[in-house]
Amino acid sequence: MMRRRPVVLLLALLALTACWTALLIRGSAFTLAEADQVLTAVPAALALTLLTGRAGQVSLAQAALLALGGFCAGIIGGFWNVPFIVVLILAMIVGGAAGLVASLPAFRLGGFYLALSTLTLYYVVYYALQSLQNAGPEQLTGYGVPSAVVGIALTSEADWYVALTVIVALCVIVLARMFRSDIGRAWSAISHNELAASITGIEISKYKMAAFAISSAFVSLSGVLSAYQIGRVTIDQYTLGMAITYYAMIVIGGIGSITGAIVGATLVTLLPYWTANIAGLLPQQMPLARSLSDNIGYTSDLVVSLITIGVLVVAPQGLVGLGTALIRRMRNAKIGDSAILDACQQMAERVKGRA
């Protein structure tokens, strides 16, 4: 059984990629550039699935870890001309180390205190990188990042689409295996009941620190990927508010589910585009409609935040949870066309296979 699992997972991934590509070719759902943006966000969203969804911890330091990844790309990749793959690995090590340091209070504390110590990580890293940037000639321009070379140089959006798909697939496989292994089960135990988990012999502080370190490494990975695509990093772009964007992804998709993280990353990345389109349709004579589209950045952020709150209050399991609940209800009700029911059941199996 365990031996067959990766095959199922791989098939599910292939199906997912096929769906994506089909949507892309039809061109109606989103463009290649938007697809790249989504795939770049997925590792960071998956990192939160691990940290918050599985281990039950909160971190507000996403921007700091993205910044560490970005600056690794700018300094190690750009300044010292180290190859892309090496930068990727180094950045994950740097991010993981930062996450480990931030979680040191886990030896004594839990709950809110640990969330506050991640704010320390954000402010200290931000200040350090800001000082670094301001000390050199990069003060105004930031660091330039060369184009990534993996055998061939990744220059077009299509190149990146292929590369990102491979990287995201690897992340999904690694995390899915991790969630099913001892460490994943230990995280689940901790998030459900710390006391009970410790009684079964789980060393809580160590597993918490592992969760922080591993998830931080994946967030840094996202930071490297986006830096290489944008081609330039400055410290100003990494605001504290980025944390809530990534949390919106996993909350809307479904906390703790890999499928949920991917669905959520897609929705939250594309929502600003949709919001802008809708705001443009509103009658611009109305003062409210005007200020909504004049401050479109705030409007789209408002929509994302409101949906996040709504999901947390009304349906804490997110879209994936809603989907499985719906299917279960249809199955139990034993009504309706059996062909539809069968299709839904098959879909449920596929969702389970992916998650």
Binding site: G110, Y127, Y298
Partner: protein, 286 residues
């Protein structure tokens, strides 16, 4: 040095009144309200808007009431339905709540900086008391001190204050003796909103108000931890200590370092003495 101290004192009082809101809400409903700083920003924006139509004293009052109402709505609409959900969900929901307030303010008032009508200007205190501009700002902090005094008195002696302490201690037992715990929680959230508004208005007296005020309010976490998460006195003293440290960092060091330094302090306190100076409740150790 003296200016650094007096600046620090003013900042400290502002931080203290935001931290007081954290303490009230934490004691009542056991959650850390990350939107507290945004209440301060909202209060300052509302004060600017009301001041265009109302006398300044009434404008402050109206801003306090509106923000208090927003606090009550936040509790009833968002926090109360979340009872029983894990800790991380309450953190995410309050951060998102803060985002919503910031975004609505951004849509309504725009991203720019607004100057704030000086509350004490029309009283012409500087004429008959010979007060300088800094002293006027100190007077604004006096408003916060008065709020603190009232709050402490209320918690100590009034019926609502006793009910509040009882509800924090044991909600189930409190409700069995006929006290409406929901009402107690609502009072806590409204008071937190009022305290934040006073802080926001006082801060804006000197610096004007912009959306960045919400970020600045995050400086209130270190005093909160320094004082102890559940102690009002601790929040007050912690606020002043962190305010002075902050002013010294800005005067003699680098203003960009203020967050890094105060948050490094927070981490050190967490490692060395997690209950802070005056915290009483046992910190959840593992």
């Amino acid at each position: 040095m003296l200016t650094a101290l007096s600046d620090g004192l003013i900042t400290g009082l502002i931080l203290a009144s935001i931290a007081a809101g954290f303490v009230l809400v934490y004691r009542a409903s056991d959650i850390l309200n990350f939107a507290q700083a945004q209440y301060a920003m909202l209060g300052a924006f509302l004060y600017v808007t009301y001041a265009q139509h109302l006398p300044l004293a009434l404008a402050v009052l109206a801003a306090c009431l509106t923000t208090g109402a927003v606090g009550a709505i936040s509790y009833l609409g968002v926090i109360r339905p979340m009872v029983g959900q894990p800790m991380f969900a309450t953190v995410i929901v309050t951060v998102a709540l803060g985002n919503v307030i910031t975004d609505i303010s951004g849509v309504v008032w725009g991203p720019g900086q607004r100057s704030v009508p000086n509350f004490f200007e029309h009283l012409h205190l500087e004429h008959f008391l010979g007060l300088s501009a800094t002293n006027v700002a100190l007077l604004g902090s006096g408003l916060i001190l008065a709020f603190y005094g009232l709050l402490a008195l209320m918690l100590k002696w009034s019926h609502m204050g006793i009910a509040m302490r009882a509800a924090a201690e044991n909600p189930v037992l409190t409700s069995t003796v006929g006290i409406s715990v929901t009402a107690v929680y609502i009072v806590a959230w409204v008071t937190a909103g009022i305290g934040a508004t006073l802080a926001g208005v006082s801060f804006a007296q000197q610096n004007g108000v912009s959306l960045g005020l919400g970020d600045l309010g995050l400086l209130a976490f270190p005093p909160l931890i320094l004082g102890g998460l559940d102690s009002l006195l601790g929040a007050f003293i912690g606020g002043i200590i962190v305010g002075v440290i902050d002013a010294i960092v800005i005067t003699y060091g680098n203003s960009q370092a203020q967050f890094a330094v105060t948050y490094a302090l927070l981490l050190i306190i967490l490692m060395v003495r997690p209950t802070g100076l005056f915290g009483s409740r046992e910190v959840r150790r593992i």
